[in-house]
Amino acid sequence: MSSIFFQFLQALLMLLLAPLAAGFISTVKARLQNRHGAGVLQPWRDIRKLFSKEVVLADHASWIFRFAPYVVFTATVIAASVVPALLPDTPLSLTADVIALVALLALARFFLSLAGMDIGTAFGGMGASREMTFSALAEPAMLMSVFVLSLGAHSTNLTTMIHHVLSTPLLIQPSIAFALVAMLMIAVAETGRIPVDNPTTHLELTMIHEAMLLEYSGRHLALMEWASMVKILLFATLIIDLFVPWGLSLDANAAGICLALTLWLLKLSILFVVLAVLETGLAKLRLFEVPQYLGTAFVLSFLGLMIHYMLEVQL
């Protein structure tokens, strides 16, 4: 029973922390750029404001356009709630393994792109085309890097994989390192951050994610934005779970949970600071350099796989 309660707690945390995470990243970036920044809570204010605003809908927007935000939001949140943040094994974590998780995100992306094409603006189509293309290239790379771990753990269930990592003695495994780098690169691409895409940009021919949201307003926009924030948090947590899961509480007692929560927040903040530093340091890639970028990630993860077989598997 308590596990179910913690499950919901965890999901809720994910949901509520997401905007804060986004705020955190932008604040850090602002500080790095010697600006004061809008503060950590700014995304929350935006969302609240957007909820209360009216929706302006293009004349011939079809039901797809209005339906999409809910699909995108729910799919992302369900995916997020599967990822263990505090407890490795929660009832829902069996609902979807890594592959299903990727698929849920893909579903969200599918509808996002459709929504982008619904109005029939040049920007929407452009965004959809690029988003789908790049994610298509990113997906195999991501699965490859996940396989490196799941082949070791003989499982694609996050819980089992976490247990596997926890149980194995901490020693340098080059394959894991390769997989980690690849995963980080993919995560940046999937969440649409610099150097692949620039979330703060508008009215540029280089934009990808934002181009699909141009026509949105009010609560629809809010849901879309929120979903993308959740996605960032999700990837961060996923990386933490797969590579540095130490600290998750194996049984559902208050003390363990608190410890896990603090550790989780710590790890997150470190990760996000790194991300912010990278985003400040790097420039955005030219559009057709992105495939090379993703290709590199794929090759890295494949190398990781081969190394795993050649060095680490005792046949």
Binding site: A58, T74, I119, G120, T121, T156, F288
Partner: protein, 673 residues
């Protein structure tokens, strides 16, 4: 010979299509009656085929002997687990197509050929599934090919259709001959054409490989496996859409059936050699990726779908190949997993590809065009078609909670069994093929965003799209059935897989579902729950609840929602031509994979008086199929070249021929005395 309920159902199904083929010509003049009879009997056939399949899987099949065929070889029919499953596949698509045809064929001018050959085509497929000796198999197989040829060339006033038909028939015949070859090899081993004897026959590894290769190439050609696929994208689109649905949906599956029947069934997993599985896996991966990449560059709707058939056949083959590898490595249970993944994808593809072709047919029916560049905004004029088509798009893109995802998920799970294989090479290749599968899936999603976005969303790009009308009830119903099935198979796989499990039990004598896995209908857990689990019902439920909550909470009572011009970054006066079209959408991929496509592009700007004053810009791109260019055409040219040389010999004068005879006599005498 034992008659069972399932077998009787199957026979009734065959009987009713045969009846249809015989009766329909009687109403040459009254096309309404003709159409009604056709749809009715076809529908009956579909229904009974489903019944046969289900009962066959549930309570075992039967066998019988007909006094047809060779004098010393009567026709053996048998309905086993594998056959039952494919009967189910056939039935589950024939039924909706029958309903659909009732509406689709309303304005068909020359109905009679369709009304004769469509049932014969279905009969052929059912017969292949039922037949239990090589001769019957070949008989029905070729019946299937020939009748489908007549269907492909139905609209033969267009030269390109005739060409497509010709190539199709040629390739089908080649396939038939190769398959005959593999049967003949088995015959020499067993001394009989009956499958029962072939099963028991012992093959030397060499001959086994020969039979495998013959069967592989034969069925591979028919299934459109890369690089033998050249005929498929030409042939499938030109047939009437209901036929295309059957061809892509079932006929390719019958080829898959044949492959399983010969390799898994007749030779048996005992004879497998490791490179067989590797070959099948490689063929599968290449088909999957090539198919989808080619599909992305098409703007003829049905042609695009045809290329996606190639992709999906590839996915099925990946599952089969993994199964063969695992079976050869001595893990029958994991092999069963691969087999089930393949079979599951088989029925899934039958359903959503059938649905997609029917949807394309609906679009074609109401716009009169297959060219996506002329579409746009159809969702407003054909809401039903759009919704149903969308379901198919999600399914084929392997997205939860629909069925496409389940089978691809199972295939992934099989691929992750690679460590069980012996040999590092394979254990690396296999995950790589899994990555290819992932790539194919993601690209498929891209492609169908393009399809749905360009055809149904946005503004109408032409008058035909502007004036499109929604199709009639029959066609809607015909499309609704598979759509519903897609959802069911996607949400409740745990209920369907135990039914499927009969097939590996028959072929591998092992069951996938040991006690660990068979938990309840909520959880899909091959192998065991620790290993991997997926619960579509919970995910769907969660999404519904969450979405409902969000909607209920956010959607204010007095809905504040204002309609206005689109914003479009402050430039609302955009022309429909300014939208991204199919060609534009796939431009990034065309550029990324330019090495593979080798597109020939022509950009051209018309300038007016001044060199800065560009009046119109024209951009033409064509992406041809490399296989056709580098494999098919050269063969044709060589043939013609030889033919020409021989014809020159036929134009000599009489002395030359006398000399030939003279020389022949001398030669014979010299040789044989």
């Amino acid at each position: 010979m034992n008659y069972t309920l399932s077998l009787c159902f199957a026979l009734v199904a065959c009987g009713s299509v045969l009846l249809a083929a015989m009766l329909t010509p009687c109403w040459q003049q009254k096309s309404n009656i003709q159409r009604a009879v056709l749809s009715l009997l076809l529908g009956m056939a579909g229904l009974f085929a489903c019944a046969a399949g289900l009962t066959g899987l549930a309570s075992g099949g039967g066998s019988m002997v007909l006094p047809l065929g060779l004098p010393w070889l009567p026709m053996h029919l048998r309905l086993d687990a594998l056959g039952s499953f494919f009967m189910l596949v056939i039935g589950s698509l024939v039924l909706p197509v029958a309903v659909y045809s009732q509406g689709y064929l309303r304005h068909e001018k020359r109905l009679t050929p369709l009304a004769v050959f469509l049932p014969l085509f279905v009969l052929g497929m059912m017969g292949v599934v039922l037949s239990d000796d090589a001769f019957a198999f070949m008989l029905f197989w070729e019946l299937m090919s020939v009748s489908s040829y007549f269907l492909v060339t139905h609209e033969h006033q267009h030269p390109e259709n005739r060409k497509a038909g010709f190539i199709y028939l040629l390739m089908a015949h080649m396939a038939g001959l190769l398959i005959m070859g593999s049967f003949a090899v088995l015959y020499t081993a067993s001394g009989s054409f009956e499958f029962s004897a072939m099963r028991d026959a012992e093959l030397s590894p060499l001959w086994a490989s020969a039979a495998f290769l013959l069967a592989g190439f034969g069925f591979g050609i028919k299934a459109g496996v890369v690089p033998m696929h050249g005929w498929l994208p030409d042939a499938h689109p030109v047939a009437p859409s209901n036929v295309s649905a059957l061809m892509s949906g079932i006929m390719l599956k019958v080829a898959v059936f044949g492959f399983i029947r010969v390799t898994w069934g007749l030779m048996g997993s005992g004879d497998f050699q490791w490179w067989w599985g590797a070959l099948v896996l490689a063929a599968g991966s290449s088909s999957a990726v090539t198919g989808v990449l080619m599909a992305l560059q098409q703007h003829d709707l049905k042609r695009l779908l045809a290329y996606h058939s190639i992709e999906n056949i590839g996915i099925i083959l990946i599952g089969l190949g993994l199964g063969m590898l695992l079976a050869q490595a001595g893990h029958p249970m994991l092999a069963a997993l691969g087999l089930i993944a393949a079979l599951y994808h088989t029925i899934n593809h039958a359903l959503f590809k059938g649905l997609l072709f029917m949807g394309a047919g609906a679009v074609l029916h109401s716009t009169g065009s297959r060219n996506m560049e002329a579409m746009g905004g159809l969702i407003h004029r054909m809401p039903w078609t759009a919704a149903l088509f969308l379901i198919a798009c999600i399914s084929i893109s392997a997205l939860p909670p629909f069925n496409g995802f389940v089978s691809e998920w199972l295939t992934f799970q099989t691929a992750l069994m690679a460590p069980q294989l012996n040999g590092t090479l394979l254990t690396v290749i296999v995950p790589f093929s899994a990555a290819m599968l992932a790539l194919a899936g993601a690209l498929a999603a891209t492609c169908f965003v393009k399809v749905f976005g360009v055809v149904f969303l946005g503004h109408a790009r032409s008058d035909i799209a502007e004036n499109a009308k929604e199709v009639d009830g029959w066609m809607k119903l015909g499309m609704a059935i598979p759509a519903l099935l897609c959802l069911l198979l996607g949400v409740l796989p745990a209920l369907f897989i135990p039914v499927l499990d009969q097939v590996p039990q028959a072929l591998l004598h092992t069951s996938l579902f040991t006690d660990t896995a068979s938990q309840n209908w909520l959880w899909l857990t091959p192998v065991d729950a620790e290993h991997a689990s997926y619960s579509a019902p919970i995910a769907l439920l969660g999404m519904l609840i969450l979405g409902g909550l969000a909607f209920w909470w956010l959607h204010p009572k007095g809905a504040i929602l204002r309609r206005s011009k689109m914003w479009s970054c402050g430039n609302p006066h955009t022309h429909a031509r300014m939208q991204y079209n199919a060609t534009g959408f796939s431009q990034p991929l065309r550029r990324i994979f330019a090495g593979m496509y080798q597109p020939d592009e022509h950009g051209h700007a018309e300038r007016h008086q001044h060199k800065l004053l560009t009046t119109r810009v024209k951009y033409v791109v064509h992406v041809g199929d490399m296989v056709v260019k580098h494999l098919y055409q050269p063969v044709g040219q060589v043939t013609l070249w030889i033919a020409k040389a021989i014809r020159r010999e036929h134009q000599r004068d009489i002395h030359a021929y006398l000399a030939y005879t003279f020389a022949t006599v001398l030669l014979l005498l010299a040789l044989f005395t």
